[in-house]
């Protein structure tokens, strides 16, 4: 997506004088608008609490003050991180497995309800999750999963399935029929074809689904807020929420929690911008 846009645009460099002047100005202006809040967060998180009250916000920290970070890292941060990783890994594995199985059925198996059922699943994309909150809250309490990381798995997987099945079905429809036939001649049944042919060939589709859902679930707030209550069972976005109550009026401490919780995704982004951007746009570009 991007590589083609840069090669194409290289031929358009010569515009009128107005574009030559306005393009860099607008580009830099939005750069400032985007990055200022981030600079504010990192700078303030390195100040002492006293400094935030006495010196202007745009003044650099007098000395780099890491005590807030140390306090946060000693104050339960790792538990939130562990819960986030656990919930994310389990959810993504289930999403990939379940949606690729369903996608294979919709893309390749013949049955009477194929089309209507697929339509129904895809329609699930427009259900606002907020309508499911009350029943899922009651259900979670009734089955005894309330305030455990497992409470999040069901809602996370279910809300991710419609779009994931949609993306993977589109993807699997492109896989050449000949490969399937060849596997069948080798004696593979439907399960063999799925496991040996479709799953390995769906790599790019699976990675898109994993990135799209992974980022959404990593940052998910409302289910996590509603279905868990104790810090021992909560995920990273809730760390900010909980610390906010704990560190009232200690702005640097709160902003160092924000920095620490945002860091994992920003590090991942540093290593794979193209794939992450492409993955996050999957919903809009395909739907």
């Amino acid at each position: 997506m991007n590589s083609s846009s840069t090669t194409v645009s290289s031929g358009k460099g010569r515009g009128s004088r107005l574009t030559r002047v306005s393009v860099p100005i607008l580009g830099l202006f939005w750069l400032v608008v985007t990055t200022l809040p981030f600079i504010f967060v990192v700078m303030t998180s390195l100040k002492s609490r006293q400094e935030t009250f006495t010196s202007p916000v745009w003044e650099l920290p007098k000395k780099l003050n890491f005590e807030n970070y140390i306090a946060v890292l000693h104050g339960g941060f790792w538990v939130y991180l562990r819960n986030s990783v656990f919930v994310l890994v389990l959810s993504i594995v289930l999403i990939l497995l379940i949606s690729s199985m369903a996608a294979y059925a919709f893309a390749r198996l013949r049955f009477r309800l194929n089309k209507p059922l697929f339509g129904l699943v895809v329609a699930g994309m427009i259900v606002p999750i907020h309508i499911t909150l009350i029943p899922i809250y009651l259900l979670t309490k009734n089955i005894g999963l309330y305030d455990t990381p497992f409470a999040l798995i069901g809602p996370y997987v279910a809300t991710a399935l419609p779009i994931s099945i949609f993306i993977l079905t589109e993807f699997m429809r492109q896989i050449p029929k000949e490969l399937e036939e060849a596997a069948k001649l080798d004696g593979c049944g439907a399960f063999g074809v799925f496991w040996k042919v479709f799953l390995p060939l769906s790599g790019p589709g699976l990675s898109t689904v994993a990135i799209y859902n992974g980022i959404g679930l990593w940052n998910e707030f409302i289910f996590a807020y509603l279905l868990t209550s104790s810090p021992a069972n909560r995920t990273l976005p809730l760390a900010i929420w909980d610390f906010q109550g704990q560190y009232t009026a200690n702005i640097p401490a709160i902003l160092s929690v924000v920095t620490l919780t945002s860091l994992p995704l920003i590090i991942a982004y540093a290593f794979g911008q193209e794939r992450i951007v492409k993955g996050m746009m999957a919903g809009a570009l395909k739907g």
Binding site: S16, T19, T132, L138, S262
Partner: protein, 309 residues
Amino acid sequence: MTFEDAQLTAVPHAERFASLKAAMPIVVFLVPAVLFLVVFLLYPLISSFQLSLLDWNGLGTGERFVGLDNWVRLAQDKLFWGALRNNLALAFFSVLFQIPIALLLAVVLDEASKGSRILKILYFLPLLMSSVALGVVFKNIYDPNFGPINAFLSAVHLDALVHDWLGDPRLALGSVIVVICWQNIPFYMVLFLAGLSSFPSELGEAARLDGASESTIFWRIKLPFLQGTVRTAITLAIVGSMRYFDLIFIMTDGGPEGSSELMATYMFRTVFSSFQLGYGSTVASAMFLIVILVAAITMRLTRRYETEV
């Protein structure tokens, strides 16, 4: 696909029921997905409408069937209609600000060959942030006493513009909308960039040779070329606004005095603060119906626009 369908209907009955063994893989492949979707999406949807007919605080067995009483109450509930109005305002300003700015930035990045990659990478950062992180950051930025906005305004002697951005009922909703736009603009920008990347450059070259100015090329050639993408963006922005929750809940919690309340935050408060589980479900169900209705209207209207152009 159509070919397969033709085959599908052509299969005679006897053959279709020839062996249950053939149906086995279909069932096995679909059961996990269907199970999750039924338990965590379809059942809650139906259950929400059922609960909307109850008067219940959510605790114990005190529920009472009240028929459509909750729906009658909803129709007269000024707070709910106020929340819906705020949702519509959010949709309106999202489309008004996010799409033109995103379009402008996309054109800018598409024009600037050098350094546009690093700009695109940095522009995208807000989308990686969780809503809690952003909400907490901007609460501090808007802080009337210690926030950088008011500090800056005082420093340049514009004290008349110093406000309690989130605490003033006239400003709270607008202040949060600014943050929502700030976060979402790069999303639409990337969407438009993807659209522009398939723009045939000969088209622009030809127009330029004919003496067309850059702005003519944009308005007459590029914008019509992107109309499908713009339509998608408008639909996403409107539907997203109707079901919006996160930053309002985190930054203002619908306040002050309900001035920034949205349907979703109102539902949440009704259930989990006032413990009116039945009525909260009515609000949730109404919100669902409104979202579907608005989505249908938006798609119909944007499609009409397409045929006119």
